[in-house]
Subunit: 371 residues, 4 copies
């Protein structure tokens, strides 16, 4: 539960309004220096209270390392990282204890845990639990970078406003690095301004809105993943659908590929100037038969609007079994998409590092009989 990974394992714990949240990461390779400034930069990208468009909850999201780091490097034994909760205003939630919030996990958690879960602020189901994903992803990114692998993401769509998409064939690390520095992750800043304006309007309506995030990964080696249920798509989707609010995932041309003919969708193999095998288009998003083919990995993730809205909504009181209306106060993002960008990047990096190290063992091939 709240765990993922095969070779490297990630175990998340914590509740939004408990003492703290965190993650245990197992099987990280030993001897890696961690750049803590980079970690905090990533944490800050997701951190609440950064702009007028996000919740006012002021958390520093400072990561405290309990184990697994010695003299600045990974030890190879389990790393435990904790983020203590500081700015907790639980009383916001007491009023709505029994009035299940539409679009939230309140009702389903109540059923699953028989009412014993920590309901304050969504407890273990809170979006706050994505902070450990960003942390783990930031560690993973530092290791992936040693293989020149860059994982980036941008806001692809807010309502009907679309950013310029990643180039699926020639995606460059530079673009990814530039995006990381932006407070609002879009390639086309003009489109970004339109998106921000739209989010502001919706905030004034006490409403919220969703969107789509596009992920791109450069320099992935061919050969990661595996057949059937071991596909890269399976591994990534399994983790990305673990991020609250994600309701759709597509790779390459995704749902659009369903309207293509084979003669369009089949990416032709070609040799580049160095004689390496590439594809001249990339409708398959860098994955064929569940295995990476060396082209950029392209993936899009659809997020639903933040369910916490100030507008009056119909719902049920599970204590009294009667219908009620609810107006959610608290502190909430009118659009979670901007803060979801580093989370989605992080989740992607977590999975790819796992696949890469799994694959690493193949390099020697001492077992192979002579051809």
């Amino acid at each position: 539960m709240s765990s993922t990974g095969k070779h490297i394992q990630y175990h998340i714990f914590g509740e939004s309004h408990g003492k703290g949240i965190g993650i245990v990461i197992k099987n990280l390779p030993p001897g890696v220096y961690i750049d803590w400034d980079q970690i905090q930069i990533e944490m800050n990208r997701r951190r609440p209270g950064q702009s007028s468009l996000s919740t006012a909850r002021a958390e520093k999201d400072q990561v405290e390392i309990l184990s697994g780091i010695f003299q600045g490097r990974t030890t190879g034994t389990p790393l435990c990282a904790i983020i203590f909760n500081t700015d907790i205003r639980s009383k916001d939630y007491d009023a709505i204890k029994n009035t299940i919030r539409p679009g939230h996990a309140d009702y389903t958690a109540y059923i699953k845990y028989g009412g014993f879960h920590d309901y304050r602020g969504g407890g273990h189901f809170s979006g706050r639990l994505t902070a450990p994903i960003v942390f783990a992803g930031a560690v993973a990114k530092q290791i992936l970078k040693k293989k020149k692998i860059y994982v980036g993401a941008h806001i692809y769509q807010i309502e009907n406003i679309y950013d310029q998409p990643f180039d699926p064939v020639h995606l460059q690390a530079e673009q990814i690095e530039k995006l990381r520095e932006k407070a609002f992750s879009v390639i086309d800043d003009e489109k970004g301004n339109q998106m921000k304006k739209r989010i502001s309007e919706i905030k004034k309506e006490k409403d919220s809105i969703g969107g789509v995030v596009e992920v791109g990964v450069t320099s992935l080696p061919a050969g990661l993943g595996g057949p059937i249920f071991d596909s890269v798509e399976s591994a990534l989707a399994s983790v990305l659908f673990g991020i609250p609010a994600v309701k759709g995932i597509e790779f390459g041309s995704g749902f659009q590929i369903a309207q293509m003919k084979g003669s369009e969708a089949n990416d032709p193999f070609v040799l580049d100037e160095q004689g390496r095998i590439q594809t001249s288009t990339n409708h398959n998003g860098g994955i064929l038969g569940g295995i990476t083919n060396g082209m950029p990995l392209i993936c899009r993730v659809a997020l639903k609007p933040t369910p916490s809205i100030g507008k009056r909504q119909k719902t049920v009181n599970i204590q009294t079994s009667s219908m009620e209306e609810i107006e959610i106060q608290g502190r909430h993002d009118p659009c979670i998409v901007p803060r979801a960008v580093p989370v989605i990047e992080g989740a992607t990096a977590m999975v790819l590092l796992d696949l890469l190290l799994e694959n690493g063992k193949q390099e020697d091939r001492w077992w192979e009989d002579e051809r």
Copy 2:
């Protein structure tokens, strides 16, 4: 590898042109009678050679049980089911051994396995490996039916022709049962005829086409799944993305929800006539916070066009490292979507049975201290 499931485990093996393919299913509940006619009906829905729109390969796809069934019932110990390959024409593939087929796993499997994989007909990556999924799904469906849970699917979209969608709030078992009897799984037969016509045209062009399948599940109890990486979406996507050709998955309103406001997307909770908690809309596809809420589960799956096409394509010869052209002969489906319907149903049923039995243990709650 090629394995999935937590409580119930499914392990697929085999190659398209080897001796046979099959599956080992572990932890099936003991004492269940298996209706073999129903199993064969499901196998036939996927079986090749059934219509002019599918490959001419004539396999009976008869399942042979090696273990796990005694006196007609499941024993509770591992069930091994085998489908022997009979109609093998390997010479079709010898010519193209080194000429990697665009859109196929030929290249990525070559990289991953160092060239030692069985390349004939795609080997372990062949669509033929979905037959064990249909088998396992057929077993799972029989068990789910005892809880009145029905898993159904239909062809939602071929090119720009759309079938009538499932009613996400009032989906009925009757509709699912009716669909199962159809040779071409659509709700609106008129739309189905248009689709078939379009597939025929594309076949004549020696081309292929993809599509979208919609899955619906009735009577799922609330409380299946879990937070973060244990979400129902994670579990289903992980298995559905294991089906060859799947490039996108969305739940409920999916990518559309990204354009909705919170006030639209939040499904209001209401009490039905029996006082049970329902939602009056179902944009979340029956899943909130990763856990089922008792509403119909709705999911759509995008499939790419069959990569095997008769049209001339550019590619690379990995032996000679030179560019070549290829015209794929063999026997192939111009559109895999109709045969994918029972596969997607089966995969969904496999996952849901796993989640249901996992959940089963919660029913007694002997550990709970008095409230």
Copy 3:
């Protein structure tokens, strides 16, 4: 790594001289009140500095709960418990950084982690990492108790001094409860005094000694475990061999059974006064075919002498690649066996709770067709 469990999962982290150690426990049933006094009593049984026979390191071993407990009860979401290290004297270890201690993990950890592990006090390999096992076991015991299942252990053997063994057929909860209250866990206190005297003598010699612990479990239901690699013996041995210093494990008559004839070793089935099936002897230790049979579970665990001894020993300096001699200073137990008792109990309880909850799901059997 450092993880175990199928249904309930236990993930241990931490290093002896780092910031802290701890455990994440996943899938605990929700709604269980935790008796913290009982937890601390168990922690104290293992805690160092309790007697002249154990290391002088003074740790309070107070457990801090970060998540998974709400209003005094388990929530069902991941529980994270931390024990901060307080009394750290790392300089004791700096001198011997490169002089690998015989019988310790210094050399093997060096090889496995390329020298990047935290070597202070054994780091992640320290006996201190058994504290989280005691904690998890204490939680498990509280839940098992609701089914009247009691897990107990005693010092069975120190050198050639043997305690009275558990009665394998009539083991009572009372005896287990009484043992728990003893500072030195033996059934026969006279034998206990002889053992203590012997340990004191060996301490004076700057040497150490090992021993055997016997575990007994009452009221286990029949039907836990499974065939082949899912045997109860496999599950228990896998966890018990994870405790540092354990070098042998036997069930029932264990190595003695190898000298018995079938007619002696086969425990005859009999009906008790209530008509329940029992066995009149219990050479199989409550397990047949890998599955519990309802009789007391009996297991013995052999522990090697504490490798840290004051006596001069031959070893190698891995930095200089030369042979050296070493006299280990630090603070160490001349015999770890007394403090291992609650650890072995705890590990046993962890496994049995996992198996019990796994089994729990079978109780309803809604899937079963009429007989």
Copy 4:
């Protein structure tokens, strides 16, 4: 269930009197030629009907490969191997359907599976299910041999007759190879004759006897395994305790180490002539802190007497709930130990190959920052 392995996974299926038994092995490295003669030699070592001391059941135990081998080599995709049952005499068992055999899994399987298991000949609990272990072990041995790793075993003890033990410091591959060729696996043939004589006597008494098998492994690299629950002991014990009849396991000096002092048990580190780190004794059986140290791995496994004996025994009829007597007819081994030798070797090889390939990925260490 009936599955084991982390990197390489082994999934066993089948019943003693069903259609067949077998195994699916996942993640075998690709490109390995399999020497089928060697496989059959190993199968024959375990095969029944080989001598007057074993059951008269005449099975050829010929392995049929369904998948995972192409052009004589492993493909890297799942290997499925089947052994069809041929000489089935089920009527032997019908008479005793409800009369649970003492020492067998009849009762516990009945409880676990609600009476729906295949009870004929022990079904999935039969010793026959060890044939797939021998097969998987034979494959693993061939791969281990490429690293000069040899896994061997011999009958260490029958009643109070002891074979000469392995030399724990200087164990040679030659001795292991010589043992493999013997029909009765002992180092000292004179002792072997005494054992055989004793087994014959016990057979005449319609009784049975157990024994101890010693396993030795040469040339294991240091660094396999891991801390706490990832110890080599945990991995091996988990699989070895999955072999029916195993009731005790010890590593190195095992239970004897409990009587040693630290100054004796601590194996001193020394440098050999090539400057490599060795230990001058090997009381720890080649494992320190759960990780191999490069010395021979030494392990002893205690097996109980075959529970099927011709002597009259007391038991219970679970149908009538009355006490009965039973005389088991069928075909049984008076002593299972000789045939258990290749099974224990095979299980050990399965685990070590898994650990070795897991470890393999560490060799490159591309992630390591400069020292």
